[in-house]
Amino acid sequence: MTGQASLSSRPLARLWPRRRPSVLPGFGLTLGFAVFYLGLLVLLPLAAVFLRAAGLTPEAFWALVTHPRTIAALRVSFGASLVAAFINVGFGALTAWVLVRYRFPGRRLLDAVVDLPFALPTAVAGIALSSLYAVNGPLGGLLAPLGIKVAYTWLGVVVALTFIGLPFVVRTVQPVLEDLDKGQEEAAATLGASRWQTLRRVVLPALAPALLTGFTLAFARAVGEYGSVIFIAGNLPYRTEIAPLLIVIQLGEYNYAGATALAVVMLVIAFVLLLAINLLQAWSRRRLGGV
C-alpha cells in the first residue's frame, strides 16, 4: 500500500520538489520571517493598488488610461527613456571597453565615478542638472547660442534619464568584457580579420546579451524615474510631463482613481520588463556561463 502511494505521488513530486532534508537549522524561521516581511511590506500594499483598480468599471478604467494627458505622459516617459537607453548603450559600451581594455592614469577613479548615479540622491542630481543646463547655466549657456535648449524641454528629460541609466549598462557589460576570452580575438586576427571585423563579428556578438540586458535595465529604471527628471523637465502637461509626475499630481488633486489606473499600467509594464530582464540574464548565462 505505502509503496503504491509513493509511486503514484512521484510525478507530482517531480513538478513540486520536496524540500531536500538539511542538517542546518532555521529554515522555517528565516523563510517565514522573510516571506512575512516581504508580504507585509511589498506584496500586500501592491495588491491594494490592483484591488483599488478592480473597483473601477472597465469603461472607467479605460477612460482614465486613454485620457489624452495620460497618453501624453506615458509617451514622454517611454520615448525619453528609449532615447536615453540607446545613448547609454553606446556610451556605456564605450566606457566599459575603455575601462576594461586600456590602462591610463585615472582609470580606477573613472571606474569608481561610474557608480555615482547609484549613490547620488535623485533630487540632488535633478537640481544639479537643471542648473547646469539652464539657459544661464555653465553648459546650457554654451548650447544656447547653437539654438539648443536642454532645460525645461524634452531634451532635458533625456539628459536626466541618461544620467541615472548609465551605470546599469557599464556594470552589466564590464564583467562580461573582463571574462571574454582574448584567444578568440587572436584567432580572428590570425585568420586575417581586420580589427574592425574582429570587433564586429567576434566581440559584439559575445557582448550582445549583456548590452541588451543593460539596455533593458536602464530603460526600466528610466521609465519609473521621478526625482532627477522633475527639476529639469519643466513639467508642461502634454509636452514634458512624465508619467510618475502625473501620478503625484493626481494624488495631490485627490484623483485616486486616475493615479491608480496609471499606476496599474506602469506596474504591468514594470513586470513585463522584469520578466524580460530575467529571460535575458538566463540567456546570457547560458551563452557565456555567468554574467
Binding site: 523563510l31 491594494a48 555615482l116 547609484f118 549613490a119 557599464v170 556594470r171
Partner: protein, 308 residues
Amino acid sequence: MDHPMPPAPASPTPGPSAARAFPSRRRGRWHPPTTETAPTRAVLIAGAVLFLLLVLLAPLISVFAEALADGLPGYVAALTDPEALSAIRLTLLVAVLSVPLNALFGLAAAWAIAKFEFPGKSLFITVIDLPFSISPVIAGLVYVLVYGAHGVLGPFLQAHDLQVVFALPGIVLATMFVTVPFVARELIPLMQEQGTGDEEAALSLGASGWQTFWRVTLPNVKWALLYGVLLCNARAMGEFGAVAVVSGRIRGFTNTMPLQVEILYNEYNTVAAFAVASLLAVLALATLVLKTLLEWRYGDALMARRGH
C-alpha cells in the same frame, strides 16, 4: 594585415620582415592585432572621459559650486537653519529605522535561499528584486492607498487616532519598500557560492544553530553585509519619489533632506537648496569611496557582486 609600420625602435629587435611575420610578438609602438592603434585608443579614452566628465562629474561639481556661491557664511547659515536641521534629523532617523530591518531581512532571506532547497525559490528571489523595477512614486502611492484617509485601513487608523501617511511611519515604510533588495541581493549570490559545508562542520563539532550563525556564517559574509548596508543606507537617506508621496511635506516635521532640497529649490532659494544637497552629495561620495575600498580590499569576499 597591412598596418603601416612605425620606424624601427633603437633597441635591438627583430627586423621589419620578422615583425611582419609575427606582428603580435613585436613590442613598442607596434600594437598587437588584438587591440586598437594608439591614436584610436586615445580617441576612445578621450571620448569616454569627456562623456563621464560632462554627464556624471559636472553635476557633482556644480552642487558644491552652487552651495558655496554666497561664500562660507551663507553655506553655514543654510545648514544651521532650524528646518534644515530638522530635515537632517528626520533623514538620519529614517535610515536608523529602515536600514537595520532590511539588513535583518536580507540575512534571513539569504539564509533560507542559500542554505536550503525549496519549491518556488527562484520566484522568491525575483519578488525580492521587485521593488527595483517599480517606480518609487508607485511605492509611495501603494502606502497612500492602504493607510491614507481614503485607503483600505484608513477608517480603522482614524478610529484609533493613528497616523501613518503624512507622518514618520509612512516615510519609514516607503523607504523600506524601495530599499528592501539591497542587502539581500549582495548576500544571496555570495552565500549560495559558499554552500553549507562550513555550517555543517560547525554543527557536527557540537555548535548550536546560533553559534554557527554568529561564529561561522556571519564572519564569512561580513564584508558583503557591510557593502549591502552601505548601498541600502545611501538609497534610504537619498530616497525622494516614494517619500515625496507619503510625507505630505510638513516643514520641520515630515521633510527629509531630499524633500527640503526640493522645497528650497522651488522657492528659488538656490544656495540653501544646494547647501542641503551638498550634504547628500558628501554622503554619496563617502559611500562611493567606502564601496571602492571594499571592492579593492575584499573583492574576493564580495564575489558574485554585480551592478544593479
